[in-house]
Each structure stands twice: as structure tokens, then as C-alpha cells.
């Protein structure tokens, strides 16, 4: 079944506008539960109350306050907050293009597939041009009353926009120079490199399943039928030794596996 677009916008590139539709690239598979009162299994209601008196507060008397110190805050009135809402626009501003490696994965927040809105030719031409230049675009837009930053890339001809975290949220490092005692020897580096190569593989996400989710579903189904199921736990082991010894032993084990 085709997914529904959540928003429509226009990529602005020089004199060109490319109409696109946004689709979530994520399928939420988390299992949702209702909170119930244990005694009568009635659903719970959430009340907003004054902390000191426990009395209910009606919605029109709720305000938001921004903390400016440990015990000081400033109330923002609804009309003031309304003024902070960015003006609506269909425009997706492309700020610059950079090599994909310029954006570390810690920036990436939530991906959207873009589909063509109108001119299919423009859409695929833009994707092809991105791929040819081997870059991704940094974009800024307003969607559903909120400002977003994103990185647009082409994957197999299709456009993907992944929202980015803000600069203030991302931490970076420099000057990490370990003490001499923590600096690995040349032979250790060589062994480690061999070990990495021995368990090198292609990224194959299909081989990983969320087993917890599957077990939880089975449990729910069994209970719905009035049955009970027994879980089967998994065991793990670990060895200890000096760093170089462990590397050698691991390497030997990895080689054996390959031969077998």
C-alpha cells in the first residue's frame, strides 16, 4: 500500500524549483501499550495539576516558562509564543553542497524519502546531478510550523532528506593524544589490523532482527489466546589475557573459521 505524503515543498536551486513530497522513511514498529489501572483495568487519564496543592489546572491557565537560572524562569504568554512561530512557506532553501564525508553521522536525526510532486523529470535529474557531483545538499525549511535543517542526498536515483541536529547539540573533539603507556606498539597495531580484516564483511542489515520485539509479540498473541510461553535465554562467553595474546588467539580462531 502506498504511503501518504506528510508535506509538500519546493527545492530551490538557482532559477529552478523542484517540487517534492515528503514521506517518512521510518516505519515505526514499536509495540504500543495503554496504561491501565491494575485493579479495574480501566484506562488512565492524565491530569495536569499544581504540584503544591495537587489541584487540577484547566488548559487555559497553563503557561510555558523558560528557565533562566536554578530558581528563576520567565513566563512566555501564548501570543508571544505565537510570534516565534516561523512564517509558513513551501520553499526548501539549499544553502550549500558538501561531500557526504563532511557530515558526521552524529548530525543525522530523522530521514524522509522525497518523491516527485509534478515534474518527475526534474526530480530524477536533480538526483542524477547530486550523484554525478558526489555531494549532498544542506537545506533549511519550515514544515508544519517548525524550522528544520537537513541533508539531501541521492540513493539509487531517489532523493532522501535527513533532518540534522543543531550545532549546539553536537560535541566535537580535538587533541586526544594518549599517554605513552596507552599508545599501542607497532606489532599490536599490525595484529589488530589483521584481526579487523579477518572479520571484515559487507554491511548486511537484514541479518539482524529485533528479537525482543518478536518475543513480545509472541507473548501477547499467546496471552490473547489464553496460553503461556517459555522464553529461551541466550548464553555468552568471554576470555581474558594480555592484549597481544588475545589478538593472536582471536586471529587464530578467525583463521580456523575461514578454513572450515
Amino acid at each position: 500500500m502506498a504511503a501518504r505524503a506528510i508535506w509538500k515543498g519546493e527545492l530551490q536551486l538557482g532559477k529552478h524549483n523542484v517540487g517534492v513530497k515528503f514521506y517518512s522513511a521510518i516505519e515505526d514498529r514499536s509495540i504500543r501499550f495503554h496504561l491501565l489501572h491494575e485493579k479495574d483495568k480501566a484506562p488512565v487519564e492524565q491530569h495536569i495539576v499544581r504540584k503544591d496543592t495537587g489541584k487540577d489546572v484547566p488548559k487555559e491557565e497553563m503557561r510555558k516558562a523558560f528557565a533562566v537560572g536554578p530558581n528563576t524562569a520567565v513566563i512566555l504568554q501564548p501570543e508571544e509564543l505565537e510570534e516565534l512561530v516561523p512564517p509558513e512557506s513551501r520553499e526548501i532553501e539549499l544553502l550549500r553542497f558538501v561531500p557526504a564525508s563532511a557530515v558526521g553521522d552524529q548530525w543525522y536525526e530523522r530521514p524522509y524519502y522525497l518523491g516527485p510532486d509534478g515534474h518527475t523529470d526534474d526530480y530524477f535529474a536533480f538526483g542524477e546531478a547530486l550523484a554525478r557531483k558526489e555531494v549532498i545538499g544542506i537545506a533549511r525549511w519550515v514544515m508544519r510550523k517548525k524550522r528544520y535543517l537537513g541533508a539531501i542526498s541521492a540513493v539509487d536515483g531517489y532523493l532522501i532528506m535527513t533532518t540534522l541536529r543543531r550545532a549546539e547539540q553536537v560535541l566535537s573533539f580535538s587533541g586526544v593524544e594518549p599517554a605513552r603507556s596507552a599508545t599501542p606498539q607497532a606489532n599490536e597495531l599490525k595484529l589488530a589490523e589483521q584481526l579487523v580484516k579477518s572479520i571484515e564483511a559487507d554491511f548486511d542489515p537484514e541479518q539482524w532482527q529485533n528479537e525482543y520485539r518478536e518475543r513480545l509479540y509472541k507473548l501477547i498473541e499467546a496471552k490473547a489466546r489464553g496460553e503461556k510461553i517459555k522464553p529461551a535465554p541466550v548464553k555468552k562467553k568471554r576470555a581474558e589475557g594480555s592484549l597481544a595474546d588475545s589478538l593472536k588467539a582471536s586471529l587464530a580462531a578467525a583463521k580456523e573459521k575461514k578454513v572450515a
Binding site: 522513511a25 491494575e38 523558560f66 524562569a73 523529470d121 553536537v170 560535541l171 566535537s172 580535538s174
Partner: protein
């Protein structure tokens, strides 16, 4: 990341993380690859946006949430709540805490690395949330060895680990001498152009591609411009707040007001990332936010923290009380 157990006994703490590299320590365990093991601490890597607000009433009294029974109308405590799953035919199946535990993955303190893959093979679509790994105990050497080897070979490690009853698929990625752990989405959580129903890929006109390529080239740079990535919402909000504060307009002094949005690892120990790295890895380590040109100043921050810690401690009992009844309805 919902956890029910953790919320029963929350650890009180000062909450301001805005002006420093303060992070939360969420988990301790061991990276294992082959027979090599590296003890590490898992720390939060994303700082909250500075747009979170607290809920108060028109007079500035702090507000909080409470659960009430929809049948009896009375207030419920945490221990009065259970979770129910509604089946497609409208039946409510109650799952008890014991049953949740029976299907949870076995407790393990290992991050088991299964394979090393080229970084560029992991699509951006998969990255969910970054964390830092700091060496624990005397593991600095093995930690540096792993980071350096991955850097040299251009490989990242793929593995899995269990935290608070959930099993996570992860990539371990080197970042300037520090190891980051990124949780990854599972393949069945990712849509494809086919499942969305996008039109079949078609060949674009060569002239148009060339036109676009030219436009792209004119805007191409080698690096990001951090100023473009700053939080405009936070800046606008802060300047409004500052001007109101100057005019003493709507300034209040709420006690124990609750943040409107939840931040991860509430109740977890707050530590200073730069201090941790300097102690465990390298005395010269410098941490900064992407937007700040100045490294975060340790001494200044310590002074700020001390100044803050006194009033924050007093609030502690009230905070502990409020957190107990919160229970989230979502598990995956």
C-alpha cells in the same frame, strides 16, 4: 528509551547541562571483539536543544502530571498501573512487569563486535542516536588500539548490546581518537521507494542533469558552515526571554517546575565529558560544541556548577516524588 525500573528510585541531581560538556553516564560494560575485551562507559552524546520549557500556571506555580483512573476518578500511584495491549479485534491483553521481564534479552555487559564494515556502506538512514564510549579502568591502550585500527582501515564495527531490557544494533565509529557508539535502526524499520510507492526511476534528460550539476557546483564547498546549522529557534526564544527579564516582565521563581519535554537518561549520573576523557584517555583532550570556537573551560565551569549545586540539592526530595508515578506507554 523507556525504563520502568529506573524511575522507581531516581537519583536527584542538578539539571543544568547547557553551558558545558556535561553528559550522562547511562551504562557500563565491555566491548569484546575476538578475545579482546575493553571496559567502557556509555555516555550521552547529544545535548538537549535549548528550547525546552517548563509548565506553570498563570501565577507561576509549578505544574506536574498525575494519572487518574477513568472509572473511579481517583489519583493513581505508579504501582497501581499496568500495561495493556489492544488487539485488532479490540481485546485488551494485560502484560505484567514479570512477563515483560520474561521476554527481555538476557542481561549482559558486553558489546559484542561481530564484523567490521566500510563506513560508507552504512546508509545514513540507519543511524538513530549517537553515544560516546569512554575507556573505563585501565583499558585506555586497548581502546586506543581499536580506535586507531578502525581509523586506519576505514572500517566501523557492527555489533549489538543490551541496555535496560532492550537489544540494540550498533555501529562503533572512531571520531578523532574517541569512540562513538551509534544505535542503528533495524532493516524492517526502514521503508524503500517501492514500499512507499514512489514512481519508477526514469532516465532524466541529459541537458537538465547538466544544468542542475552546474548549479550544484556553484554552491559546492568542502566543509559545513556551522553558522548555518545554529539553532535559530533557541536564539529567538532566548532573546525574547532576555528582554522580558530586563523589564522584569513575567519573571517567576517556581519551585521544582517540571520540564515540558523529557530528556534522555533522567536520573542517570551527570558527569563532565572533558574531565572523564582527560582522566581516562588523554590529558590534552579538548571538547567543544560544533558551534563554539572556544573549548569549554573547565575551571570556569566547575565554579558555575558549585554555585548551582546548593539550591538544586534542596529540590531533590520533591523531584524524586514526582518522577515515581511517570510511566510511559511505549515499548519496542
Amino acid at each position: 528509551m523507556p525504563s520502568r525500573k529506573r524511575k522507581r528510585a531516581p537519583e536527584p541531581q542538578p539539571e543544568d547541562e547547557s553551558s558545558s560538556a556535561r553528559v550522562r553516564s547511562l551504562w557500563s560494560g565491555t566491548i569484546t571483539f575476538g578475545l579482546v575485551s575493553i571496559p567502557v562507559d556509555l555516555l550521552t552524546a547529544v545535548r538537549p536543544r535549548q528550547t525546552a520549557m517548563k509548565l506553570v500556571d498563570t501565577d507561576g506555580h509549578a505544574l506536574g502530571r498525575q494519572y487518574h483512573c477513568s472509572k473511579e476518578g481517583k489519583k493513581l500511584d505508579y504501582d497501581d498501573l499496568v500495561r495493556g495491549y489492544e488487539t485488532d479485534d479490540g481485546k485488551m491483553v494485560v502484560i505484567t512487569d514479570k512477563e515483560f521481564e520474561s521476554v527481555a534479552p538476557e542481561m549482559s555487559a558486553d558489546i559484542e563486535l561481530r564484523s567490521f564494515v566500510p563506513l560508507e556502506q552504512v546508509p545514513a538512514l540507519y543511524f538513530q542516536k549517537p553515544y560516546f564510549l569512554a575507556p573505563a579502568g585501565k583499558s585506555a591502550k586497548a581502546y586506543v588500539l581499536l580506535a586507531e585500527t578502525m581509523q586506519r582501515t576505514g572500517r566501523v564495527a557492527i555489533g549489538s548490546f543490551v541496555m535496560r531490557g532492550h537489544e540494540y544494533l550498533v555501529a562503533i565509529v572512531p571520531d578523532n581518537g574517541v569512540l562513538r557508539l551509534d544505535t542503528l535502526r533495524y532493516a524492517d524499520e526502514i521503508r524503500t521507494p517501492e514500499t512507499i510507492g514512489l514512481p519508477k526511476r526514469s532516465k532524466a534528460s541529459a541537458a537538465k542533469v547538466t544544468q542542475f550539476a552546474k548549479e550544484i557546483e556553484a554552491l559546492t564547498h568542502q566543509a559545513l558552515k556551522i553558522a548555518e546549522l545554529e539553532d535559530q529557534d533557541a536564539r529567538k526564544l532566548q532573546s525574547l526571554v532576555e528582554s522580558k527579564q530586563k523589564e522584569r516582565d513575567d519573571v517567576i521563581h517556581p519551585k521544582g517546575a517540571e520540564a515540558a519535554e523529557d530528556s534522555e537518561g533522567e536520573g542517570a549520573k551527570v558527569i563532565d565529558l572533558m574531565e572523564v576523557l582527560r582522566k581516562s584517555l588523554s590529558n590534552s583532550a579538548v571538547v567543544r560544541t560544533a558551534e563554539a570556537s572556544e573549548p569549554i573551560n573547565l575551571a570556569e565551569r566547575r565554579a558555575q556548577r558549585e554555585a548551582r549545586s546548593a539550591p538544586a540539592k534542596k529540590k531533590a526530595p520533591a523531584k524524586a516524588k514526582r518522577k515515581a508515578p511517570r510511566k510511559r506507554a511505549r515499548r519496542s
